[in-house]
């Protein structure tokens, strides 16, 4: 399955201290950069898959790790930092999306294309990318047809998050996560059977 166990248990990582201004990075700075190295690609893929542009994705990831640094610097909880990081990225992407939609609503006349469609269609998300590959064309249509929450669940699962972590990121129950993934895969299976 695509559960990726290569990500270490981030909650178990330790921090000795955060030194003040110094040319040499503090242990905390080094730890956050190490986490960035481990998580950056996963976060970006998730963001791209939900319709975030490459430029916005890079900005969001920077914001996420600056927030992580502050979070750890303040001595806050180190439990399940992987889910924490994805949750912050998710929240920031939703925030940006809502802000962009507000801007568009202020600019366009009523009756124009819904912002939500534009959000999905403009993005370098899997369905657009899959179109370039003939073997993946059918998956593109299935993925496109999935409800947004199902697409997010699937992408987070593909990035190795457990059901519990997905539930935390998307604010869903474990049962709802399981149902969402099962529903999505059943659709893929039906298409493959044809």
């Amino acid at each position: 399955m695509f559960k990726d166990r290569a990500i270490p248990d981030l909650a178990a990582t330790t921090v000795s201290s955060a030194e003040g201004a110094s040319p040499k990075p503090t242990p905390l700075e080094e730890e956050v950069v190490a986490l960035f190295d481990q998580m950056q690609d996963r976060l970006l893929r998730y963001l791209f898959s939900t319709g975030v542009s490459v430029h916005d994705g890079e900005e969001i990831v920077q914001e996420v790790f600056l927030a992580l640094f502050q979070h750890l610097q303040r001595g806050k909880s180190r439990r399940n930092l992987r889910a924490w990081v994805f949750q912050v990225a998710h929240n920031l992407s939703v925030k940006r999306y809502l802000a962009k939609r507000r801007d568009r609503q202020n600019l366009v006349e009523p009756g124009d294309a819904p912002a939500e469609d534009t959000f999905v269609d403009r993005a370098p998300n899997p369905e657009d990318q899959l179109a370039s590959h003939q073997n993946h064309a059918r998956l593109q249509s299935v993925f496109r047809a999935l409800p947004e929450q199902d697409r997010r669940c699937l992408s987070l699962r593909a990035e190795g998050l457990t059901y519990r972590e997905i539930g935390k990121v998307l604010d869903m129950s474990l049962g709802a996560v399981a149902l969402s993934l099962g529903r999505s895969l059943a659709r893929f299976a039906r298409v493959e059977e044809r």
Binding site: S22, V32, L44, G75, Q129, A186, A189
Partner: protein, 263 residues
């Protein structure tokens, strides 16, 4: 569920494949799969769907990923800047829960001792008093209001005004004694208004009453002396202002002709 007559649902097959079943149920499912070809085939189909999706997902999104070097360097620079921010000491403190508890315990012990010994402590030197006998020239150079001798010595001479509490606090802060007991100090004019001094923070300083020798009461005596000398015509106003603002203790010695306060 382990019976061959009832097959596992897709949902359960997925949960089993993802390792999300409780251990006891996972064992039952594994046992059922060992017996049931139908469910094993279905499980294989689900895994095939997952595999196809992951290949598509990674194969199409990975080319979009930027080179990590630039964003990494940017992040390092930004967190280094954040780490050097002034709040660092507070943050380090908050990271050490043990130290926090130890600090809290020490504080309580200190508080207890303070309450116990407070009467004796206060009677000797007041509460949190830092003796200040000399104004800091960079903070309190002395500022005049531009008045002349006639105004000072007229029928309604300028008097020392009560320094507002907010201004007193600012003076305490400037001198780094913001936690001081206000009654232990006279926020004093360096050049008193009776000698043409201005209501300006640069003309105010916290003079402690507790200074053993050169305290606020001694300076008050000097101010009265200088005012009398100016108004009697025996001393130029500018000289009086300059002398008291440059070194009031030297001025006291000079105008009282003594090396020690007379009081």
């Amino acid at each position: 569920m382990s019976s061959n007559n009832s097959h596992l649902s897709d949902q359960e097959l997925l949960l089993a494949a993802d390792g999300e079943l409780p251990p006891a149920r996972a064992e039952e499912v594994a046992s059922h799969l060992a017996e049931c070809w139908t469910c094993r085939v279905r499980k294989g189909e689900i895994e095939e769907s997952i595999r196809d999706f992951v290949h598509a997902y990674r194969g199409n999104l990975d080319p979009l990923l930027p080179s990590p070097a630039g964003p990494r360097a940017l992040l390092k620079a930004q967190i280094a800047e954040m780490a050097s921010a002034p709040q660092g000491w507070r943050i380090r403190w908050s990271q050490f829960a043990t130290l926090r508890y130890a600090g809290a315990a020490l504080f309580l012990v200190f508080l207890g001792l303070l309450i116990y010994f407070r009467p004796a402590f206060q009677s000797r030197q007041g509460f949190h008093v830092v003796p200040v006998s000399f104004p800091e020239p960079s903070l309190t150079p002395g500022v005049t209001a531009g008045v002349n001798r006639d105004q000072i010595c007229g029928s309604r001479p300028p008097k020392n005004r009560i320094v507002p509490a907010s201004l007193q606090r600012r003076v305490f802060e400037e001198y780094g004694i913001s936690g001081a007991e206000p009654r232990a100090y006279e926020v004093d004019y360096l050049i008193t208004p009776a000698l043409g001094g201005a209501d300006d923070i640069r003309n105010l300083w916290p003079q402690s009453y507790s200074s053993a020798v050169w305290n606020a009461r001694v300076k008050d005596a000097l101010e009265d002396r200088l005012h009398d000398l100016v108004c009697d015509g025996r001393l130029d106003l500018g000289t009086a202002q300059r002398d008291i603002s440059s070194d009031w203790i030297a001025a006291y010695k000079k105008y009282f002709e003594t090396d020690r306060p007379l009081q």
